[in-house]
Symmetry: C2
Amino acid sequence: MSMTDDTPATPASLRLLPSRMLAGVAMHADRLVSEGLARADARKWHYAALVALREAGPASQAELSKRTGIYRSDLVAVINELAERGFVERAPDPADRRRNVITLTPEGLGQVRRLQELIADLQDEVLAPLSRPEREQFSGFLARLLEHHARRGSSPEQG
Amino acid sequence: MSMTDDTPATPASLRLLPSRMLAGVAMHADRLVSEGLARADARKWHYAALVALREAGPASQAELSKRTGIYRSDLVAVINELAERGFVERAPDPADRRRNVITLTPEGLGQVRRLQELIADLQDEVLAPLSRPEREQFSGFLARLLEHHARRGSSPEQG
DNA sequence: TCACTAACGTTCGTCGCACTAACGAAACTA
DNA sequence: TAGTTTCGTTAGTGCGACGAACGTTAGTGA
């Protein structure tokens, strides 16, 4: 009857590995925001594209790809979904007939505002256990790490 | 020929999103360690399993799964690969014939030592831009975030 | 003892993400 | 005018996280 507390704990040498913790926290964060956005019939990429459009105006898909970090291959589907929902419009560029010009619609503007609030709440949820100043520190660290690895990375970059 | 600096910068509202930065840093970190381990013909999971075995002795696959966070479905392949390389042995448990007992071999012990050094170096590379005390802070934040989300998570947990 | 349930290892399949390859059309460049 | 590059697009790869289901074996209660 006596149980010897058989809880199989992850060894500390694994549990405390920064790269592992990083992956774990990123996963939880990703799940939180993805599920939150799903409740609004949206995805991370929708938000990224919409924000980029609002911030910098109409753009070609190639430009959007660079601004958001979404691969141009994957961007196709994102724009499709946003266009279906009436948040953006895809039109051929008369000046360069290879390109499409993606434009934010009024409905899209409304949506990005809604999503922005939602996302802000979700970030709070992600960082819940940290105090305000700690969140600043943490974000600062992340930004520095990101910048560092973005430079050295021979990889095509992504976010 | 003046160029209006057409560098398409990611808007700050995206670039500074914690969840996004988290994903980005985690990706870079993961790539670094994965590539590093690949050079030693190993993967993250190999290391996780080997460490868990060294730390807590021989175990069934179910137990290993809980200790390492590797799904039992995926663990099968990991043990296969480790067994192929002679680092572990998989034997049926005479006490419970449903189970396999996974045991670390002497070669496995050597390998886990090698990998541990390698991993330590790779962690340094990941955290390169941070000073020692900053790394401590950062790791502390990660640990707190992880613990927080592990509790509330109805998700089966993973690292 | 006998049905019921639960655990174990395993296989197969799914979903999403990062990423590559290739292609036709259009645009630049020599 | 020929060669190269860019753009949007389709298809596909590799991997990590995860679920479903199955046969086998162990425990559990009537």
